[in-house]
């Protein structure tokens, strides 16, 4: 799996940490120097190599990035766990931690290898070629608009109905206002104490609409004047004529 990448020998490992893309990269290259399948790698030996490497870097007083030190601390912990007698109570299990580290190295190695193999494939523009200036194919989408006559007329109706001024026009009508009726009834009733029909107080008119208005307002005027004690109202029975007279002594 890792045959395509050159295996770095330990003595070839440069001491500059800048060469490595992080601790895992360094570990992977150290692991490769063991010259065994990553599945058979000795984790203990690998940890030893890593810690030795960092010690040499430290001795040269080269700056060490923090993540290398974190990895070193973790590996030192792993090493001590691996060296201790097997304690089934220990959590996490050091053997499992070692296996996980091994899996990580295998994963990275596999992806590194896959990347190299990907780059080595027959690539367009390098190994295989497509037409440089194809005519191109085009699909022109044309809309066929659908609307029927009913939609058209309904739409116009809707527009017109929407835009038509919404207004309630009241045609001028001949009316006798309540104020006019009060003046008229109070003047006509004067001080007469004989009963007279309400209709006798209406102004004469041929306009039936005006007569109805005058009847209504005159009746209301009579009620108002009765409330003030200026006149009296009488009716013999339902739908009988309404009779009016001035309040005696009023």
């Amino acid at each position: 799996m890792n045959a395509e990448l050159p295996i770095c020998r330990e003595e070839e490992l440069t001491l500059s940490l800048g060469t490595w893309e992080g601790p895992l990269d360094l570990l992977l290259n150290l692991a490769r120097s063991q010259k065994v399948d990553l599945a058979q790698i000795s984790i203990l030996q690998l940890v030893e190599q890593y810690l030795t490497y960092l010690t040499r870097v430290k001795a040269l007083k080269l700056e060490i990035a923090a993540d290398y030190l974190v990895m070193a601390a973790w590996l030192a912990y792993l090493k001590s766990c691996l060296l201790l007698p097997n304690d089934p109570q220990q959590d996490p299990d050091p053997e499992e931690l070692a296996a996980r580290l091994q899996l990580r190295l295998q994963r990275l190695d596999a992806m590194r290898d896959a990347g190299a193999r990907l780059m080595g494939r027959d690539r367009i523009g390098r190994d295989v070629f497509v037409r440089d200036a194809p005519e191109g194919v085009r699909l022109v989408r044309k809309s066929e608009w659908r609307v029927d006559a009913y939609d058209l007329y309904a739409a116009y109706g809707a527009v017109r109905a929407r835009s038509a001024p919404v207004m309630h026009v009241v045609a001028p009508r001949a009316v006798l206002t309540l104020e006019a009726a009060i003046d008229r009834v109070s003047a006509l009733v004067g001080s007469r104490i004989d009963w007279r029909r309400l209709e006798a107080f209406l102004p004469s008119s041929q306009d039936p609409a005006f007569r109805r208005s005058a009847l209504a307002s005159s009746f209301a005027a009579a009620l108002e004047l009765a409330r003030k004690g200026r006149l009296e109202l009488a009716q013999a029975g339902p739908f009988e004529p309404i009779m009016i007279r001035a309040t005696p002594g009023g």
């Binding site: 440089d132 200036a133 066929e144 116009y156 527009v159």
Partner: protein, 190 residues
């Protein structure tokens, strides 16, 4: 012929080139060999296929067979329902033509979105109809002969009048609200 490595090389070289190539230019890529014979052999093999090897002023290149050019640009018709805005605009133009954009907006009571008139013109129902003499010389719109035939009208006089619309209940505000509701939900599917 397929097994001939030299002909294959000439074929690939001509295919990958952006420009038609003269036999001497092909030779620069494929090396020793009879390029002319290879080209002649290829031209024969491709004759009658969808791809042809053709000569243009002493240079050769592959191209699509000319009789198939119509395949490369295909037009597809899709049925689409006219939006409510476009339908109203079309109706206003039909009843009021020639009419300016501002007048259409005044009747509809809303601004017209870009593209509404484009859609109607694309459909072939509306055309520009000159400009109105006056401030701003606004562009005017009118309906087309295609509009009349699409809606089965002999002339614009055949458009139902306001009384017809009223009789059909199309001016009734209650019906209008209901109709609008239907139109709107229909438009949402667009």
């Amino acid at each position: 012929m397929i097994g001939d490595g030299f002909v294959r090389a000439v074929e690939a070289t001509l295919f990958a080139s952006a420009e038609p190539l003269a036999p001497e230019e092909v030779a620069l890529h494929v090396g020793e060999g009879d390029v002319r014979s290879a080209i002649a052999a290829l031209a024969g093999q491709y004759a009658g296929r969808g791809i042809e090897l053709v000569e243009r002023g002493g240079r050769w290149h592959f191209q699509t067979a000319p009789d198939l050019a119509h395949l490369l640009r295909r037009t597809r018709e899709e049925q689409r329902r006219l939006s409510r805005a476009a339908t109203e605009t079309l109706a206003i133009i039909a009843y009021h033509e020639p009419v300016s954009r501002a007048e259409i907006e005044a009747v509809r009571g809303v601004q017209m979105s870009r593209g509404t008139l484009d859609v109607l013109m694309e459909a072939g129902w509306v055309r520009p109809a000159g400009r109105r003499e006056g401030p701003g010389r606004p562009l005017l719109y009118a309906t087309t002969a295609q509009f009349l035939s699409h809606f089965g009208l002999g002339s614009r006089r055949d458009l139902p009048g306001m009384e017809d619309l009223r009789a059909a209940g199309l001016l009734d505000p209650v019906d209008m609200a209901l109709h609008q509701l239907q139109l709107e939900s229909a438009n949402e599917q667009d």
